[in-house]
Amino acid sequence: MHDSAETRSWTAVCALDDIVPDTGVCALVDDAQVAVFRVGERDLYAIANVDPGAGAAVLARGLVGSLGERIVVASPITKQHFDLRTGECLEAPQHSVRVWQASLRDDGQVLVGTVPR
C-alpha cells in the first residue's frame, strides 16, 4: 500500500458482509462514533452516530427507509429522521448531524473518510 494522501484519508471499518442490507453499524473512526449504513446491496452512507435530540449514540440502530427522494434513518429514540446524504434532521434542522464519505473497496471492505465532509 502506498503512503499517499488518498489512502491515509480513508479508514477500512468492516467488510460489506458485516452490514445487513438496509441496516447500519457503528464504527469508531479517529475517536468519533460514525453510523455507517448499507442501503440495498452496495450503497453506503456515513453520518454521526449520536442523535443530538436524545444525546445517545444510537443512529446506527435506526430504521432505514425513504421519504420522497431522500434516503433517511429514523432515530430509535426520538423517531426523528436524518437524511443519510446530508445529515439534515428533517423534523428539527438544529439537530442535524455531520456526514462522512463512505465507499466500497474492491476487496469488499467498507471505507469511511477520516475527516467529516
Binding site: 427507509g65 433517511v72 429514540i77
Partner: protein, 854 residues
C-alpha cells in the same frame, strides 16, 4: 331561584346536566331521589346481567353532585305538594320550599290485577333492585315466565334465558311487540325467537297464579290451559307515576299522565313535568329521546326566567318520532313511523324471505311520494336511510320497493346519499345531534368515529345512529378534501387491514416482495415494522432472519427495550407472575453481575435496566441457562398474563387463576400483533388481577370463566366488556384465539384493542356475533391461524444466541471491542441510573459500566 326536582331518573338527570352546564348564578337545586343511588342508564339496564355494576351504569359524572348549588337527597321520597305554600313534603316529614318544581317521576311497571301476582318470585323489571331480585330467584329456578312480549319483556326474557332458565313469553295480544310490529313482522320475530329455544304464547290471558305441581307456580289461562313456572316477571307495559299530581290537582289524563303544554308546564305555571310521567297532546312517551327533549326544553325555559331574557324564541315540544331500532335476543328489529299503515290512503310494500327469516315492510303515502313508516325484522340495515327519508320528507324513488328488496342482477339499491340530508337532519335522536353538528366536529378535527362520539356525544346512548354518523363523517371529510385516507404511509396506498389481506391471499412472505407488488420507494419506519408484524402474525418466521432483520424497530432488532441513553432493558418471561426462588436468585445474580438496575413491572415480572448492546447475548445465555425465555417486552406482542393466586391459596378463589394464566401466557407468547397485548386472570369476582383493565381479561365464576375484552389502563382507561360468560376452559381458549386473530386481521397499525373496539362498526354486539356466534363463518380459520402461531413458537433469544451470524450484530462498534463511551451511570438508592448531561461532564461521579470479575 329555588328549584326542586322530584325524581333522578335518566330524564330528571338530563335536566340537571343541562342546568348545571349553563352555569346559572342564582339557582339552588334540590333533587329528591327515592332510589338509593343517583341516575343510571336504564336503556342499558340489561347489561347489569352481563356483569356491569350499578356504578358502571351510573349517569352521574364523578363529582357531579358535589357542585355548589346542587343537592341530591337519596332515599328521599316526595309524598305531597302544597301548591298554595309552594312546598314539597317528603316521607321523612320534611318540607322543602320551591319557586319552581319539576316532576320527573317516571313510571312504574304495570302489573295486571291477577290473583296471586304478589306471590314470592313474582317480580318486575325496572330498577337495579328488581334485577338483583331476578338474579337471586334465577339461581333457585328452572323455569321462568315473562308476562308481556314488548320491548322490555323480550329484553327480560333474554336475561332469564342467559341465566339458564327454560324461558316462556306470555303475551295477551296476538303478536309480539304489538305496538311496533304488524302481523308479518311479529310472526317472523316470534319464529326467530322460538328458534333460540324460547317458548312464545300469544293471546293468553292469565286468570290466576296458584301453587304449581312441576314448579313453584301455576299460571291459569282464560282458555283453560296452564303453565307451571318457578318465577314470573311482569313486563306488561308502564304506567306514569302521577300520584303527586293527582293529589295536588295538577291535571292528569283519563288514562294517567300529567298534562303539559309545549313548554312542559302543568296547569300550575310553577310546576313542570317531563319524561314518562308527562302527557303531551294526549300521548305518553316511553322512550328516552323525547324525555331528553323535554328536559332540554325545561332547562331553556328556566334559563330564560333566570336570565330574564326575551331574546330568541324558546324551544317548544312538538311531539316526537317513536321509531326504534334494536337487537332483541340477537334479532334486529326496527319500527319506523306509521308501522301499521294507519294513515288514510297509505299503501304498503312487503318483502318476506322465509329462508333467511327476514321481513320488511314499507308504508308510503297514497301518491307514492313520501315514506310514512316501515317494519324491519331480521335485517335492519336500511333503518337509518328509511328513517331519514321519512323524517326529512325526502322524495321516494320511482320504485320504492327496491329500498327493501335484496339487490340482485346488478340493480344497485337506491341509497339515500347522505349528501341528500339537510344540515338540520337529526342523526342522533338520543342526544339531539344534527348532521350539521357532526360536520362541524369533523371540521374541528374529529376524524374517527371514536373522536366523533367524544366530540358530539352522537351514538353514545343507544348507538343506533353509528353507521349513519360514520357515513356522514366520511362524506364530510371527502367534501373538505381531507382524503379519507387510511394509507399506511407514502410507500403503501392501502390500510394495514388491506395489507394484511394481501399478505395472506397472495401468500407473501417477504417485505421486498410486498413492496415490489403493492408499494413504492424503499419503505420507512412506519411500514417496515407494520409489515414485519403482519408477516410474523401470518407466518411466524424468526424475526431476525436475514430477510426480516432490517424491518425491525431497534427493540425488535436487538430483542430488548431501548432506553433514553441507548442502553437496553431485559425482561425474562415469568408466566402468570410465577417464579421459583431459584429463578429469582438467578435473575438477581445476573443483574448484580452486569450491574443492572432492577424493578418489578406492572405485569408481575422483573425488568433489568442498563444493559449495553454487547452485554445482551451473554446476559441471555445466563438467563436461558437458568430456565428463562424471552419475555417479548420489546415487541408489539403478547406481554404478560397477570394473575391473582386463585383458588390454590386464596380463601375466596373459585378457580385456578395462576394455572390458567400460565397456560394462556404460554399459549400466546411470541404472538405479534398490531400493538401490545396485556392479559389478566382473576380467581373470583373480587378481581384482584384487574382483568377488566386488560385487552383480554378472564374472571373466574362458580361455573367457569367470564371473558372480558378490549379494556385498557394507561392514557385512556377503558373498562373491558363481557364477551361471553361461564365458559369452560377449551371454549375460553377458542374464543380468545378467535378474538386475537380477528383483531390482528382488522386493526390499524398501533391500534390497541380498546380503540379498535371503539371504532368497530356494530360495536360489542357485532364482536359477539363474529366471535361467539360465528356470523362470518370465520371461527375455524381464525383458530387454525392461531394454531400455526402456537405450534411454531420458538424462544427468539435462544435462537439469537445460538446463531453466530445474528449474535455478531450485538456489538456497539463494528471495528472495536470498546464500549460506548457515551453511556454513563450514577448511583441512586443503591442502584444505577443514567447520568444526566451535567453529570456526564463531571466524570468523578460516574460509575464505570463494567462487568464484575467472574
Amino acid at each position: 331561584m329555588k328549584l326542586v326536582v322530584i325524581g333522578n331518573g335518566m330524564v330528571g338527570h338530563k335536566l340537571l346536566e343541562e342546568l348545571m352546564a349553563a352555569n346559572h348564578a342564582d339557582l339552588e337545586i334540590t333533587v329528591l331521589c327515592e332510589e338509593p343511588r343517583p341516575a343510571y342508564d336504564r336503556v342499558h339496564l340489561s347489561e347489569f346481567f352481563n356483569g356491569k355494576s350499578a356504578e358502571q351504569l351510573s349517569l352521574a359524572a364523578p363529582g357531579f353532585f358535589e357542585q355548589p348549588g346542587l343537592e341530591l337527597r337519596l332515599n328521599a321520597r316526595a309524598v305531597g305538594i302544597d301548591r298554595a305554600r309552594k312546598q314539597v313534603l317528603t316521607a321523612a316529614g320534611e318540607t322543602l320550599r320551591y319557586d319552581k318544581l319539576v316532576l320527573a317521576t317516571g313510571s312504574t311497571p304495570f302489573v295486571p290485577t291477577i290473583p296471586g301476582n304478589d306471590r314470592p318470585a313474582c317480580l318486575v323489571y325496572r330498577a337495579i333492585e328488581d334485577l338483583e331480585a331476578m338474579t337471586d330467584w334465577g339461581t333457585r329456578s328452572k323455569i321462568g315466565v315473562v308476562v308481556g312480549g314488548g320491548l322490555l319483556g323480550l329484553e327480560c326474557a333474554k336475561a332469564l334465558r342467559d341465566m339458564g332458565l327454560q324461558t316462556h313469553v306470555v303475551e295477551f295480544a296476538p303478536r309480539l311487540m304489538a305496538v311496533q310490529m304488524d302481523d308479518g313482522g311479529g310472526r317472523m320475530l316470534q319464529r326467530k325467537i322460538e328458534e333460540l329455544g324460547l317458548t312464545v304464547h300469544t293471546q293468553k290471558s292469565t286468570l290466576a297464579i296458584v301453587d304449581g305441581e312441576a314448579a313453584r307456580h301455576r299460571m291459569q289461562f282464560a282458555d283453560g290451559s296452564h303453565l307451571d313456572t318457578d318465577m314470573i316477571v311482569f313486563s306488561a307495559g308502564i304506567r306514569p307515576r302521577d300520584e303527586l299530581a293527582r293529589q295536588s290537582e295538577l291535571g292528569v289524563g283519563e288514562r294517567g299522565g300529567i298534562r303539559i303544554d309545549n313548554f312542559c308546564r302543568t296547569r300550575d305555571r310553577d310546576v313542570y313535568a317531563i319524561g314518562e310521567c308527562a302527557l303531551w297532546g294526549g300521548k305518553l312517551y316511553g322512550l328516552v329521546a323525547p324525555g331528553y327533549e323535554m328536559a332540554r326544553i325545561v332547562a331553556a325555559h328556566l334559563g330564560a326566567l333566570l336570565q330574564r331574557t326575551q331574546a330568541a324564541p324558546l324551544p317548544e315540544f312538538a311531539g316526537a318520532d317513536m321509531s326504534t331500532k334494536l337487537k332483541l335476543l340477537g334479532v334486529d328489529v326496527a319500527s319506523i313511523g306509521d308501522a301499521h299503515g294507519a294513515t288514510p290512503g297509505s299503501r304498503t310494500y312487503q318483502f318476506s324471505d322465509e329462508r333467511r327469516q327476514v321481513y320488511k315492510k314499507l308504508v308510503v303515502s297514497g301518491d307514492g311520494k313520501q315514506l310514512l313508516g316501515g317494519v324491519l325484522v331480521g335485517d335492519a340495515a336500511e333503518y337509518g336511510t328509511l328513517l331519514q327519508m321519512m323524517l326529512n320528507g325526502i322524495a321516494l324513488p320511482e320504485a320504492p320497493e327496491f329500498l327493501i328488496l335484496p339487490s340482485a342482477d346488478g340493480h344497485a339499491r337506491p341509497g339515500l346519499g347522505v349528501d341528500a340530508l339537510p344540515a338540520s337532519a337529526q342523526i342522533c335522536s338520543c342526544n339531539n345531534v344534527s348532521k350539521g353538528q357532526l360536520c362541524e366536529a369533523v371540521s374541528a378535527g374529529a376524524r374517527s368515529i371514536g373522536a366523533l362520539k367524544t366530540a358530539t356525544k352522537a351514538g353514545t346512548s343507544c348507538g343506533g345512529c353509528v353507521p349513519l354518523a360514520t357515513q356522514i363523517m366520511k362524506a364530510e371529510m371527502k367534501r373538505q378534501g381531507l382524503a379519507v385516507n387510511n394509507h399506511l404511509c407514502e410507500h403503501f396506498a392501502c390500510s394495514r387491514q388491506e395489507l394484511y389481506h394481501l399478505v395472506r391471499v397472495e401468500r407473501i412472505r417477504r417485505f421486498d416482495e410486498l413492496l415490489a407488488r403493492h408499494g413504492k420507494g424503499l419503505g420507512c419506519d412506519i411500514c417496515k415494522p407494520a409489515v414485519a408484524s403482519i408477516l410474523a402474525s401470518c407466518w411466524n418466521e424468526f424475526v431476525l432472519q436475514k430477510e426480516h432483520a432490517s424491518l425491525q424497530d431497534s427493540n425488535d432488532y436487538f430483542l430488548a427495550n431501548i432506553q433514553k441513553d441507548g442502553t437496553y432493558s431485559v425482561v425474562p418471561r415469568m408466566a402468570g407472575g410465577e417464579v421459583t426462588p431459584d429463578g429469582l436468585i438467578a435473575v438477581g445474580q445476573i443483574a448484580r453481575k452486569y450491574g443492572l438496575y432492577t424493578k418489578i413491572t406492572g405485569g408481575q415480572r422483573v425488568d433489568m435496566f442498563g444493559a449495553r448492546l454487547e452485554q445482551l447475548p451473554s446476559i441471555w445465555e445466563e438467563l436461558i441457562a437458568a430456565g428463562f425465555e424471552s419475555g417479548h417486552a420489546y415487541g408489539k406482542s403478547v406481554r404478560t398474563v397477570k394473575s391473582c393466586v386463585g383458588s390454590t391459596w386464596c380463601r375466596y378463589g373459585v378457580q385456578d387463576a395462576v394455572g390458567t394464566a400460565i397456560d394462556l401466557e404460554n399459549r400466546y407468547k411470541g404472538l405479534r400483533s398490531p400493538h401490545k397485548l396485556k392479559f389478566a386472570v382473576s380467581g373470583c369476582t373480587r378481581e384482584c388481577a384487574e382483568a377488566q383493565g386488560k385487552d383480554v381479561g378472564v374472571i373466574a365464576t362458580e361455573k367457569g370463566w367470564n371473558l372480558y375484552v378490549c379494556g385498557n389502563g394507561g392514557m385512556k382507561p377503558r373498562h373491558a366488556e363481557l364477551l361471553a360468560g361461564d365458559l369452560d376452559t377449551p371454549t375460553l381458549i377458542a374464543y380468545i384465539d378467535r378474538f386475537l386473530m380477528f383483531y390482528i386481521r382488522t386493526a390499524d397499525r398501533l391500534q390497541r384493542t380498546s380503540v379498535w373496539r371503539d371504532n368497530l362498526e356494530g360495536g360489542l354486539e357485532y364482536l359477539k356475533d363474529v366471535i361467539v356466534r360465528d356470523s362470518l363463518g370465520l371461527a375455524a380459520e381464525l383458530e387454525a391461524q392461531m394454531r400455526l402461531v402456537v405450534d411454531t413458537y420458538e424462544c427468539e433469544w435462544k435462537k439469537a444466541v445460538s446463531d453466530p451470524q445474528t449474535r455478531r450484530r450485538f456489538r456497539h462498534f463494528v471495528n472495536s471491542d470498546a464500549a460506548d463511551g457515551n453511556v454513563a451511570f450514577v448511583a441512586e438508592r443503591g442502584q444505577i441510573r443514567p447520568a444526566t448531561m451535567e453529570e456526564k461532564r463531571d466524570r468523578s461521579r460516574r460509575i464505570p459500566a463494567t462487568v464484575e470479575a467472574p
